[in-house]
C-alpha cells in the first residue's frame, strides 16, 4: 500500500523494530515448534522411567522403567547427525526463544498486586517461568549433555549407556543415597520442569490468540481447557520423571543396565535369545 509516508524509512529503524513482526512471530513459533514438540517428546522419554514399569516386555529385566528409558535413550543416540539436530533443531531455537523472550519480558511491568486476576497471574508466571526455565535448561544441558560435572553435586557424569542410573545419581547427589545437595538438585528439577510445562501450556494458549486462531471468548476458553489438559498430562509426566529418577536407586538401576548391556551385547533386541552375539571390545 502506498500511504505509509508517515512512518520513518525502514533503514533508519533499529533491527528489532525493522523486523518486529517476523521476530515476534518466530519467537512464538519456535516456542511451539521445535521447542514445544521436543519438550513433549523429552518428557515422554524421561517419564518412561515410570510408565516403563508397566511395560510387560520391559518388565522382564527387573526394572521396566530403567529398561524402557535406556531403550529410548539408545534410540535417540542412534539417530544420525545427532549433534547437527541438537544444534539447529534445539539449542539455537532455544537460545533464540530465550534471548528474545527475556528481551520481550523486559518490555512489561507486572501489576498483580493491583490486578490479581487469574489471567494476569498467568501473564506474570509466563515470564517468571521463562526466566527460571532459561537457567534450568542451561544447567540441565550443561551438566548432562556437555558434561560440566563441576556443577553437579557429587560430580556425577551422565552417561547415555547408563542413562537411568547416572541420571538418578545426578539428582540424588550420590550413588548410595540422597544427599542434601541432591535434594536441592531434585527440587530445582521439579521446579524447572513444572515451570517449563506451564510455560508451554500457557504459551500455546496465548499463541492461539497471537496468531488469531482463537478470537471469540468462547474459543479462547475452549482452547484454554485444551491447553490446561495438555499441561496437566505433561505435568504428570514431568513429575513422574523427576520423582521417578529422584527415588530411583542408582545401584539397582546400574545392575539393570548392566544386565541390559550384556543382553544387548548378546542380542541387539531386548527380547532376543542371550549368548548369541559377540562381545564388543
Amino acid at each position: 500500500m502506498s500511504e505509509t509516508a508517515h512512518e520513518a524509512p525502514a533503514k533508519q529503524q533499529p533491527f528489532m523494530q525493522r523486523h518486529h513482526f517476523l521476530l515476534r512471530r518466530l519467537h512464538s513459533l519456535t516456542g511451539v515448534m521445535p521447542i514445544g514438540v521436543f519438550l513433549i517428546n523429552h518428557l515422554l522419554t524421561n517419564s518412561s522411567v515410570v510408565w516403563g514399569m508397566i511395560d510387560p516386555k520391559a518388565g522382564k529385566t527387573g526394572h521396566g522403567g530403567v529398561a524402557t528409558f535406556q531403550h529410548e535413550v539408545d534410540f535417540i543416540h542412534s539417530l544420525p547427525y545427532l549433534i547437527i539436530i541438537e544444534i539447529f533443531g534445539l539449542w539455537l531455537p532455544i537460545a533464540f526463544h530465550s534471548v528474545l523472550g527475556v528481551y520481550y519480558a523486559t518490555t512489561g511491568r507486572a501489576n498483580n498486586a493491583r490486578y490479581p486476576f487469574q489471567d494476569n497471574w498467568r501473564y506474570t508466571l509466563q515470564r517468571v517461568s521463562g526466566y527460571v526455565g532459561v537457567l534450568f535448561i542451561f544447567y540441565h544441558v550443561a551438566t548432562l549433555r556437555w558434561g560440566w560435572t563441576f556443577l553437579v553435586p557429587g560430580g556425577t557424569r551422565w552417561s547415555a549407556e547408563y542413562a537411568a542410573s547416572t541420571l538418578a545419581q545426578t539428582l540424588r547427589g550420590h550413588a548410595s543415597g540422597l544427599t542434601l545437595a541432591g535434594v536441592g538438585v531434585s527440587l530445582f528439577y521439579m521446579a524447572g520442569v513444572s515451570l517449563l510445562v506451564f510455560h508451554l501450556a500457557n504459551g500455546l494458549w496465548t499463541a492461539a490468540i497471537t496468531w488469531g486462531l482463537t478470537v471469540s471468548r468462547q474459543a479462547q476458553r475452549r482452547w484454554g481447557y485444551a491447553c490446561a489438559g495438555l499441561g496437566a498430562a505433561l505435568m504428570a509426566m514431568a513429575w513422574s520423571a523427576v520423582i521417578g529418577f529422584a527415588t530411583l536407586d542408582p545401584v539397582r538401576a546400574r545392575l539393570v543396565e548392566e544386565s541390559l548391556r550384556s543382553a544387548h551385547r548378546a542380542e541387539p533386541a531386548l527380547t532376543a535369545a542371550p549368548d548369541a552375539a559377540p562381545r564388543r571390545p
Partner: protein
Amino acid sequence: MPTATPNAPTSSRSRTVRFAIVRCDGPGKPERTELFDVPVEPGANIISCLQWIAANPVTIEGVRTTPPTWDSGCLEEVCGSCTMNINGRVRQACSALIDAVSPSTTPPGPGGATITLEPMRKFPVVRDLCVDRARFFRNLERIKAWVPVDGTYSLGAGPTESPDHQATRYALSTCMTCGCCLEACPQFLREDKPEAWDTSFVGAAVISQAVLFNDHPTGATLKPQRLDVLSGPGGVNDCGNSQNCVKVCPKEIPLTESIGAAGRQVTVHAVKKFFSGR
C-alpha cells in the same frame, strides 16, 4: 420548585469518609498525599466528594491547601474524563459510589475507612489527578481510526448491515478513550517522550478501534495501512495476553476478542504481503 433530590431512604445515614489524595503540583514536581475528611450522604460518589473538598480544601490537620485538580465531564460514564485510580484500581470517579467503594462504616482514623485517589500512572501527570492522554489520541490517528468517506455531502445511505454485525460494531464503538485498559495493562508503560510513542505499545483500546474500522465496508479500504501499524513495533504483537484490559473496561468491550481478531488479521496480512511481494 422543590429540589430534585429523592426523599432520603429510611436506611440513610450520613457518615464521614477519609480521602487520601495523591497530589502533584505539576510535571516533575514531587508527589505528596493529603488527607481530607468528607461528610458523605447516601448516593454520593467520588466526584461529589471531590467537589466538596474543592469547596473546602482543608486537610485533616486543619491546613488550608489548594483545591485538588481533576478531570471530569459528563459524570455519566460516557465521556471517559474522570478516570483515576481509586483504592488502587483504575475506573471512572463518577460511577464510583462511595457506599460501594468504601462500605465500611468505621469512622476515619486508625483502622477506619480510607479512600485513596491517585492519578493514572501510565500517562504523564499534569496536576494532581489530571493526566495527559495525548498519546492515546495520537495512536488513534496512527491507526487511522476513521471511515474515509468522500466528504460530507449527501451521497445516499451507507451499507446495510445485519443486526448482529451492528451489535458487534456498536460494542466496540462505545469505547470512550478513558484509558482503563491501558492503565491496567502490564505491557503498556508510561512513556513521556512523544517521539517514542510511535514505537511503544498502542494498547487494547486502539487495537480494538482498528478492528472496528476494519470491520466497516468503507473503513476497510484503510485496512492494510492499519495492519501495517498493528504488525509493527508497538502493535498487537506486543500484547502479553494478561487480559486485564477486558476486566477493567467500564464499557465491557470485548477487548480480548478484538486482540484475537487483530492477531488473525495481522497474520493474514503478513502472509498476503509475503506472497504479493509488497
